[in-house]
Amino acid sequence: MSVIEMKLEREVAAETIKIQARKVQVHYGTNHALKDVDVDILSKNVTAFIGPSGCGKSTFLRCLNRMNDTVASAKVSGSILLDGADIYDPRVDPVQLRAKVGMVFQKPNPFPKSIYDNVAYGPKIHGLTRSKAELDEVVESCLRKAALWNEVKDRLQSPGTGLSGGQQQRLCIARAIATSPEVLLMDEPCSALDPIATAQVEELIDELRSQFSVVIVTHSMQQAARVSQRTAFFHLGHLVEYGETGTIFTNPKDPRTESYITGRIG
């Protein structure tokens, strides 16, 4: 368990609460998908959500930038505060919210446009840049942050769909950080990737921590242990346990967490 030990020693940055969720419930039609979830997500931290399939971890992630609004049958209650403002307040425009809380999806989903246009899409729709030169700069810096620049700088105009799976996912990350979000949500970002691409993306996540707070949903406990500072374990729509990653993995309080980590459920 050397990874876990390394983790234990990694210092946890001085925290401020970025997102505060209280009594969050989600219903899909008659299906009660999420029950009374309370979580505080800290800034400049990687928070991992783990749990068996269908436990509600992705559902909760999609609550954080109101992507559940696009599912007609979904009903969300409870409160989720971003920097103290309730994101479900009727005055909040989900469009503005999602610029601050970006999202990366399970399957790489580059638009059928050029690499450049994929990254420039967010800044363009939100009107973040004033000139072409400024936009070029944003695109380059985001691609650099996503560790993709060197691989694509000569073919920015070729279609994003032509990249390899790992490159596509890094392109999607570049696209997500181009709107300078404050929180980056990642929904199993490595599940469609091979081990080498996964390692690259994980490395990237660790670097992104310096600027954003990152929330990652993952199936892989090793991955949660490798990249996150805090971990939340979901089971059957409940948040079972939430705490520092090291503690969760070495000394879980709840027997269900222990069963999951040791491979007896899930």
Binding site: N65, M67, T70, A72, P94, V95, Q96, L97, R98, A99, G102, M103, V104, F105, K107, N109, P110, F111, P112, K113, Y121, G122, I125, H126, C172, R175, A176, T179, L185
Partner: protein, 482 residues
């Protein structure tokens, strides 16, 4: 022997063959059907098929080509001098056909034919009596020709009966003789069935061939009578049945394009926006009701739209727009036909576009929405560009539909062939002229009639190109997301 009786005999033979073969098969195995390679029913089926299939093929082919022989027999009795001035061999031949028909009816009534055949006047009176319409009065030569054609028909039918029955019996005997316990009747039946299936799929190819060949041959016939340069480069369309017509295609092409363009200008925005709304915004319930309602528009026969153009839309446009604005006084106009056709084409654009928009993966929408794009930004900048090839295909199919549409333009666009820009004037299209040149009593030897085939070929080629391009685009598009 009449065709009906012949068919009945063939069916009876087949049934008998089925029963006999079954019994024989069981008997050949000593009454134990388990010793047979194939079930007794297969022996029966094979026999029935061997009786019916060759006989039916012969019957059909014979009937198709019989007309030739009969016409030839009648023609051999006619001399060029039998054709009076101002008439044609075709007209004389239709007289011959009517006389032969009348003679058959007279014979059926039991009238003595010999005195009538001797006297054209008596025959004319007798024919009038049985209610046979007459073109020209019968002449000795046309009577001879009519008799010859009746004779040829009689001979042909006797020959047909003999040949088909022989084929049927031959099939029956051949199969019955081969029945043994080891005979692989099932395999033989299936091989034969396979040929029938292949034959059925070849009918589609045959149809295309028939279309292309009949259009091509009559078009060539037309170009022998009328210079193709005039057809393609003359800008006037003015057929006169006395000869000396101008048959330039451009006024018709222009009308066709103008009407179709207006139709698309109506249908594309309405169809596309409807499709986008239904696919992206509408609730499941709304969609379940509205989509079939819009598709009703595609199920309504075109004659209904034609009448709608003629009695409702045309007069409305004339009384409220063209006369007050002084830009026309005709109720049939390019605008009338175009508007109504546009309504008809809406579902062709909306349904296909809706399917295509739905085929765009949800992950692309999530990607865009997750970046904070509004739904309409997502649609305009991600969904529609991704669906574009498919939508173009849908629009091309709609265009091909509009170009080939007949009844709406026949009733709504008018008949005046002209090159004009005013959409409130009556203009005409390729399809309208095909109808007007080919309806009524037609003779297939004047350029005024034959031009319809050249128009048909133009229309066929035009729509074929549009269809193929559209099909390729749509198919490519589907593969992209499968």
């Amino acid at each position: 022997m009449s065709i009906g009786l012949l068919s009945l005999i063939l069916l009876a033979l087949a049934t008998a063959g089925y029963l006999v073969a079954r019994t024989r098969a069981v008997a050949s195995a000593g009454g134990d059907a388990r010793r047979l390679h194939s079930l007794p029913a297969f022996h029966g089926r094979l026999t029935a098929m061997s009786v019916l299939v060759p006989a039916a093929v012969i019957l059909i082919l014979w009937l198709i080509f019989e007309g030739f022989a009969i016409r030839g027999a009648a023609l051999s009795q006619l001399k060029p001098s039998d054709v009076p001035d101002g008439s044609t061999m075709d007209l004389i031949m239709s007289d011959v056909g009517r006389i032969a028909d009348g003679l058959n009816q007279l014979e059926a009534r039991g009238t003595e034919l010999a005195p009538l055949l001797a006297s054209p006047d008596a025959l004319a009176a007798a024919l009038k009596d049985v209610g046979v319409a007459q073109g020209g009065a019968p002449t000795p030569d046309t009577i001879l020709a009519a008799q010859a054609s009746r004779e040829a028909l009689r001979t042909s039918r006797i020959g047909l009966s003999i040949v088909t029955l022989a084929a049927a019996v031959a099939g029956l005997v051949l199969v019955l003789r081969r029945i043994t316990p080891e005979f692989r009747a099932r395999n033989a039946t299936e091989a034969l069935s396979m040929w029938l299936l292949i034959g059925a799929s070849l009918i589609a190819v045959g149809t295309t061939l028939g279309i292309v060949l009949s259009l091509l041959s009559e078009t060539l016939h037309f170009f022998r009578l009328y210079d193709f340069r005039d057809f393609f480069f003359n800008l006037t369309w003015n057929p006169k049945f006395t000869g000396g017509s101008d048959l330039g295609i451009w006024p018709l092409i222009w009308g066709t394009i103008y009407v179709s363009a207006i139709a698309l200008a109506v249908a594309v925005p309405i169809g596309l926006f409807s499709a986008v709304y239904l696919a992206e915004y509408a609730s499941k319930r709304t969609r379940a009701y509205v989509k079939p309602l819009i598709e009703i528009l595609a199920g309504i026969p075109t004659i209904v739209y034609g009448l709608f153009a003629l009695v409702t839309v045309g007069p409305l446009l004339r009384d409220w727009i063209s006369i007050p604005m002084g830009i026309g006084n005709s109720s049939s106009s390019v605008m009338t036909a175009g508007l109504v056709m546009g309504i008809m084409v809406i579902p062709f654009v909306s349904s296909l576009s809706d399917d295509i928009i739905n085929a765009v993966p949800q992950s692309l929408r999530d990607g865009s929405l997750g970046l904070g794009a509004t739904p309409s930004e997502t649609i305009r900048q991600v969904v529609l560009p991704a669906a574009l090839p498919g939508i173009v295909g849908a629009i091309l199919l709609a265009a091909s539909r509009a170009i080939g549409e007949t009844m709406i333009v026949v009733l709504g666009a008018g008949a005046a062939a002209q090159l004009s820009l005013n959409p409130f004037e009556a203009m005409t299209t390729v399809t309208v002229k095909i109808v007007s040149q080919l309806t009524g009593d037609t003779e297939f030897n004047s350029p005024e009639t034959l031009v319809a085939f050249a128009l048909g070929l133009t229309l066929f080629t035009l729509t074929l190109c549009l269809n193929i391009v559209a099909l390729i685009i749509v198919r490519k598009y589907r593969e992209q997301y499968e």
